[in-house]
Every structure is written in C-alpha cells, then in structure tokens.
C-alpha cells in the first residue's frame, strides 16, 4: 500500500464578489505519494471545500489547463508529484495573469495574442483538393516538430519577467507558434505574421532571460524559437536596407 502523508495545502483564494484582495487558506490533506498536486486540489474540492475554483481537464499534461504557481514555480498541477515536495505546498494562480477567482486566471490576453500570429497553415498557393495533399519529408517535419508540442498552458508567460513588466509583450508561446508555422515547408504566411511578430511588442521585447524554456512542461524551448526569430528578422532588415535588389 502507498504511504499516506498529511500535507498542508496553502491555496490563494479570491472571491470577486466578496473579497477586495486575495488571501491564503490552508487545508490539511491526506495525500498518497503517487498523487499530483491536482489530486490534492480535487480532494479539497470533493471533501473539504466545494467552493474552491480551479481549471483542469485531462489529468495527463495534454490539455494545458491546470497551470498554477506551485511553491512559486509555474507548474502543471497534474505533473507536479506530491513526493517532490515537503509537507507544505503553496498553490497560487499563474503569475502575471489577473485572477478571475481562486486559481482561475483571466486568459483572454493570451488567447488574443495567440490568434494574432495566425497559428494555422497559410498555403503558399491555392491548390484544389483534387490536386492531392501537401507532401512533407521527415526532415522538413523535424524542422518544426518540437514547436507543435505546445499545449498552451501559459507556464512560459508566468515565468517570463518581461511579460510581467510589459503586458503588451506578445510572449513566448505565441511567437513560438508563429515560428512553428513559418518553419513549415507547406506554409507561405510568414510575411503576414511578421507584422505582429517583428513589432516592438513582438520578439524584440524579449531579452532572453530563458525562464520560459526552463519551465515548459513540453520541452518546446520557446526561448530558442524566439532567438531564431530574432536572427531571421535581423537578416530581413539587412536584406531590405543593404540589398534591396534581393527578393525575399
């Protein structure tokens, strides 16, 4: 049988209807070591306090909805094992996002930013369905495969001090997603995306702290993607200003 352990689960609570600011509430939770922090939250919800609000869905690091600050670090609640922590675990809503209620954050800003980079294939030329599929070699797939693993969990935004200080910043995941489609051999939409991506609030707001890549649960390496976007945008600039006769 698994060992049971009493955990003090300290959760940041905020009720917009009654509270003027968030406050911590501590629950004593009997945990099994195989549990993840999300299990402890579910225990609270089911047994101690049904008013506790938080997002989750898949419980398997796929849906990206269970991002919280766990002991100050952005983590997926369903991937943060209890046995990696001591007897006191502090759970807060993801940093840098406004708090809607308890652990639920306001994510409209991220969703709008993600949509603004046109995260879908914009084919180079129109092709009738009868002409068949767009083919791609394994090497062409490898070029961007890592960026397709993003689950939009926003841990990278919670880790990025730049996003915290300059909320207009387009941010790690949105730019990585733009990079993902730009790198796709079937895509021809880079010019359209560059208007947003290469703007001041775009990639140039990034100062390469690298925190996003350290916390990303899917090893997307957004920091790497952003530096590659900077290199490509700089090359664009030189081409445009020093060699205007060269066609892009």
């Amino acid at each position: 049988m698994s060992e049971e352990r009493q955990i003090q689960l300290e959760v940041l609570r905020y009720n917009p209807e009654t509270d003027s600011q968030p406050r911590f509430q501590t629950y004593t939770v009997p945990c099994v070591n195989e549990w993840v922090v999300l299990d402890a939250l579910n225990y609270v919800k089911e047994n101690l306090d049904p008013t506790l609000s938080y997002r989750w869905s898949c419980h398997m690091a796929v849906c990206g909805s269970c991002g919280y600050m766990i002991n100050g670090e952005p983590k997926l609640g369903c991937k943060a094992f209890i046995h990696e922590y001591g007897d006191h675990i502090r759970v807060e809503p993801l940093a840098h996002f406004p708090i809607e209620r308890d652990l639920v954050t306001v994510v409209e800003d991220f969703i709008a930013k993600l949509a603004s980079v046109k995260p879908y294939l914009i084919p180079k030329e129109d092709k009738p369905i009868s002409a068949g599929e767009f083919k791609q070699t394994p090497a062409e797939l490898m070029k961007f495969k890592q960026y397709t693993l993003c689950i939009n969990c926003m841990l990278c935004y919670a880790a990025c001090p730049q996003y915290g200080l300059v909320p207009e910043f387009l941010g790690p995941a949105a730019i990585s997603m733009a990079h993902r489609y730009n790198q796709d051999s079937r895509d021809g939409g880079r010019d359209q995306r560059q208007e947003v991506v290469a703007s001041d609030e775009g990639v140039w707001e990034c100062s390469f702290v690298g925190a996003c890549s350290e916390v990303c649960p899917k090893h997307v390496d957004p920091a790497g993607a952003l530096q590659q976007v900077k290199v490509a945008s700089t090359i664009d600039w030189y081409k445009e200003h020093l060699m205007p006769w060269v066609k892009k």
């Binding site: 600011q21 708090i99 001090p161 100062s207």
Partner: protein, 128 residues
C-alpha cells in the same frame, strides 16, 4: 455575473529578486557594464597615445598599479562569465539540422569554446 479580476502588482525595481533564475539573468546583464568600462579604457588608451610617448607610458604605469591590475582582473572575470553564458545558449539560437537530426548542442557550444581558445592563442602569440 459581473467580473472583477484582481491584478497582482509587480515591483519594477525588485522583480529579479523573486527567482534565482532571474538573478542569474541579471548577473549576465550586469557583466556588460564591465565590458563597457573596458571599452572606455581602450578609448582612453588611444587618447593618451595621441598625446605622445610620455603620456602613454604614464597610462601604462597606471595600468600596472594594484588598482589597474584589480580592474583588469574584475573585467576579465566578468567578460569570461558573459561570454560563457552566451556560448552556452548558442544551440538554442542557432540549431543546426542535418537530415532528420539536429547536431548535438554540445558540439555547437564546443566549437565556440574551441574558436575562443584559438583566437586567444593567436592574440597571445601576436602580443609577445
């Protein structure tokens, strides 16, 4: 139901104290002040050189003073830290794909250290 989102304020001046990884980032950024200072020193050297051999000798003597040596040592340490922190992230910024594989990061980083060593040796050779 009306919404009333709560915004947590972030200190504009002390934000980097929150996380060790932010402090490491700040350390990397702060080292460029030393590199700026050294660039300034080189400009002073040029200015002194233009004032004749005596002035330049005086400048060289000042460099050999304990304070001058200490300054150079501090800059050297800062420059090494600065360069290493950048070398170590080059595989992220400049991945090299060969067929379906990526060249291992250690090779890209290693090539930078190798180039650094070779260039340093050449400069040392030209200097003596």
């Amino acid at each position: 139901m009306s919404r009333k989102p709560y915004i947590r304020e972030i200190s504009k001046t002390r934000w980097f104290l929150r996380q060790p990884r932010y402090m490491r980032y700040m350390a990397r950024e702060v080292t460029c002040i030393f590199i700026f200072a050294y660039t300034f020193l080189l400009i002073v050297a040029l200015a002194r050189l233009s004032q004749g051999p005596d002035a330049f000798q005086e400048f060289l003597n000042a460099l050999r003073s304990p304070l001058g040596v200490l300054f150079n040592l501090a800059v050297l340490i800062a420059a090494v830290y600065h360069s290493m922190s950048w070398f170590n992230v080059t595989p992220q910024a400049m991945p090299i794909q060969q067929g379906e594989e990526f060249v291992p990061g250690s090779i890209i980083v290693g090539a930078h250290y190798g180039a650094w060593a070779v260039i340093s040796l050449i400069i040392l050779f030209l200097g003596v």
